[in-house]
Symmetry: C2
Subunit: 339 residues, 2 copies
């Protein structure tokens, strides 16, 4: 039996597997340290389309189709897709997946969407509602800057605390499978609450999200009665260097030290000094392609056995920001283990 664990977690008795994953990125990510791990690296930031938004949709479409192919499945075998992006009303997702003809659950968790989607995907498969589903997400530097900050043509300066939205899309096929050695399983989840520490600086997303990451990591360890050493890596989404420091401090205040296990996708995905990306990468795509490309390879190779994947989201819009609201955070934790 699947069961509720502690206050916010679920463990799966017959854990669903990640049967296939795909990652696609833009030109800047293709020059970063993880470039070799991504399946498709485009030199064209609009992916052959006429706008940033259409380019982002094209990325999602390609990522989903490739993930299905790599899982050796057909589109018709996918019962649901759980997907979302950063743009208002999820237009990148809508126009990316509309022709796939797969029943859809649209999600918004800001940059935590990859964790939200994998959580719901694994809940759905573990409950027997589907044999095979897809979780997908994306972000695009051009469409995100236009959505949240300034049009690229404006050429605004960026403070050192700012992160750089990753142009990328990651897709995952989650399904039932015979529990073979080396299978990549989702064994449990911890779903996050919205955490608001009163931060208002949209150029310092790391500080907005770190409290939510600390909250859900703390809760995961508590619910499952584990030490950080249970995991080979505890992988946050896009806290960047400033957010990482806050995360360590908040957990240390609760007697938990994750500095030996911690990795942040936003810190890894760019060479932040060389590539002028300041505090690190961000966006739904940042954690999604780092998981699909780099992290899952470490698990498949057996380099790592167990990771806690914790993408982090900052909850704001230009409207909420301009009306003086805080920027709360949310984070969702997914336990991924090599069998």
């Amino acid at each position: 039996m699947n069961k509720m664990v502690g206050k916010q977690s679920v463990s799966f008795s017959d854990p669903p597997c990640i049967l296939g994953s795909a990652s696609i990125c833009g030109p800047k990510e293709a020059e970063g340290p993880l470039a070799d791990y991504f399946d498709i690296r485009s030199e064209d930031p609009t992916f052959g389309k006429d706008s940033w938004e259409e380019g982002e949709s094209e990325m999602i479409r390609q990522a989903v189709e490739l993930a299905i192919k790599k899982a050796d499945k057909k589109k018709e075998e996918i019962r649901y897709i759980f997907a979302g992006d950063l743009l208002g009303q999820l237009i990148a997702t809508t126009f990316g997946i509309k022709d796939l003809d797969i029943p859809v659950f649209g999600l918004y968790g800001a940059c935590s969407t990859c964790g939200e989607g994998l959580s719901l995907a694994s809940m759905t498969v573990a409950a027997g509602y589907a044999d095979c589903v897809v979780a997908a997400t994306s972000s695009h530097f051009g469409s995100a800057e236009k959505q949240f900050r300034f049009p690229l043509e404006y050429g605004n300066q960026r403070p050192l605390s700012a992160t750089w939205t990753v142009t990328g899309s990651g897709a995952f096929v989650v399904g039932k499978a015979e529990p073979e050695e080396g299978a990549i399983q989702i064994t449990g989840i911890t779903t996050g609450r919205i955490v608001d520490y009163g931060v208002k600086d949209s150029f310092n997303m790391g500080a907005c999200m770190a409290p939510a990451a600390a909250d859900v990591i703390y809760q995961n360890l508590k619910d499952f009665d584990r030490k950080p050493t249970y995991y080979d890596r505890i992988i946050t989404g896009d806290l960047g260097k400033i957010g990482q420091k806050i995360l360590f401090d908040l957990l240390k205040d609760n007697g938990i030290d994750i500095s030996n296990q911690h990795m942040d996708c936003g810190i890894e995905i760019f060479d932040n000094e060389e590539q002028d990306t300041h505090s690190g990468g961000s966006g739904c795509g940042c954690s999604a392609i780092t998981l699909a490309g780099y992290v899952l390879k470490q698990l498949r190779d057996g380099t790592w056995k167990r990771v806690l994947f914790v993408p982090t989201g900052a909850l704001l819009s230009t409207v909420s920001y301009n009306e003086g609201q805080n920027i709360p955070g949310v984070a969702h934790a997914v336990i991924i283990e090599r069998r």
Copy 2:
């Protein structure tokens, strides 16, 4: 055992119950034909706050808290909340629920969100991942016009095909319960695909959404091998008068006549002639408060035994619209039965 049914449906062997529901609306809805069914009717369209958006958040907060109270539950007993609204990055939801401290799954299904939320809520409870969860959604005329069309101050004219976004929020407590006579159960769901018939007119949302509604209703009847007469009512969200006609035509092309069972929340919620709301009400809140207030009362009273609730969403943003994209639709069907 819960089981997959047909191509897009799930049936629950031990159906979750709607343990409590709450509806809150603004001044215009309070003058409409369903006014007496709503729990809270506000004379103040900003609900005591400084902006449309903050007012919308306040509605959600009040609806969720009242639904929990009416279900005779405590906030601490709610394991997850499934919630979303129409605004970019779900800011109405974020600031409405952030202080509730409940793990959250953020959803975007445009005006179909109530169906998406109830689907995931019932899947979660039926699988044993939670004893009790909340599904909630909202919309607000002022914030939606600003988001999708023009600021209210501009005073634009509206064509007769246009709908009027409902100011309202509906919340539902879904949980395990002893199967007593008269219990309101969610016995199954049919999850919709995105359907794009190439319509581009954002002042004719009914035409954008009707094909998706027809698709999911057709699939529900096919998956469960039912006739429309199985249901006392088949209730769409906000097709309005024009969308209703298209829905009937599309289903008749497939040999299905639902004209005796059909009800559209958008048509019922306003006196469209008297209240100058043209084609009908719309928005996530339209179907949500009609369900929470009017429909569930008919089921509780025993007037109806079985309804198919099918909220409908139009997938667009000002960016996708201005870039010349179509407006696809999506709809999610939830089977609600009185035991």
